[in-house]
């Protein structure tokens, strides 16, 4: 069983667990098992078309799966999968005081 670490804000969709042990031999199988066990996580992680959302990265131990075999990356029982967002931003030259947009 591979371990999947659940980011803090997503634990509300995973019975408040910080990690779960799931069966699967590839990243795709483990992630499918994750959203099967916790269906409300699916919307947080995947688009309606079933693709990982643009800001969601999956790491197998210390490696980004995009640089391995993506969804087909093999997963061993001793592996740990982490869900890590992409975050960036910045302010243009002219700001708006105080509010959002």
């Amino acid at each position: 069983m591979a371990k999947v670490l659940i980011p803090t804000p997503l634990r509300q969709f995973a019975d408040k667990k910080d990690s779960v042990e799931l069966a699967g031999t590839t990243v795709a199988e483990v992630m499918a098992a994750l959203t099967e066990q916790f269906p409300t996580l699916r919307k947080q992680l995947f688009t309606d078309e079933g693709k990982l959302r643009s800001f969601v990265n999956v790491y197998l131990n210390d490696e980004d799966i995009r640089y391995l075999k993506k969804d087909a990356t093999p997963v061993a029982a001793t592996d740990t999968l982490s869900i890590v967002p992409s975050i960036a931003g910045g302010a243009p030259a002219v700001g708006l005081a105080g509010g959002s947009l």
Partner: protein, 141 residues
């Protein structure tokens, strides 16, 4: 609401002022008690944006992963991200929104002339179309 303790706040402001006129970024660790987030440890993270950093920042996912591991090891949670707006108000810009994720609090520090001016915290929605403010407190001394 999100409360930031003194040591975390001091680190965040010092990091933002040190990197002025560039943008800084980092992670906020702590715990969540109901609707209240308490930040007890801030982690400065390198701005990895490859172009001019005066109006842009980027967090490497692996740096965020390391911050999450640090939080877990300390029995804390990764609960927010901070970055600075040099010579600009602390609002959530279009660039911020388009490159955010809806899972965390985003604290923006306005640094004007190299010194802290004001700050706000935002909660981007899942569609990345809006980021309402959340109440933010920090030690004012």
């Amino acid at each position: 609401m999100i409360n930031i303790n003194k040591s975390s706040w001091d680190l965040m402001v010092a990091h933002a002022e040190k990197l002025f006129p560039n943008e800084c970024c980092g992670a906020m660790l702590g715990n969540i008690d109901g609707d209240v987030k308490n930040v007890t440890q801030a982690v400065a993270i390198e701005n990895s944006y490859t172009g001019a950093q005066g109006a842009r920042y980027e967090l490497r996912p692996e740096d965020l992963l390391e911050a999450d591991r640090k939080a877990r090891a300390a029995g804390l949670d990764l609960i927010g991200i901070f970055h600075s707006h040099p010579d600009c108000d602390a609002y959530f810009s279009k660039t911020d929104l388009e490159n955010s994720c809806p899972w965390y609090s985003f604290v923006v520090l306005s640094i004007k002339g190299g010194k802290f001016d004001h700050a706000n915290s935002f909660l981007p929605n899942a569609e990345q179309t809006d980021a309402p403010k959340e109440e933010l407190t920090w030690p004012k001394s």
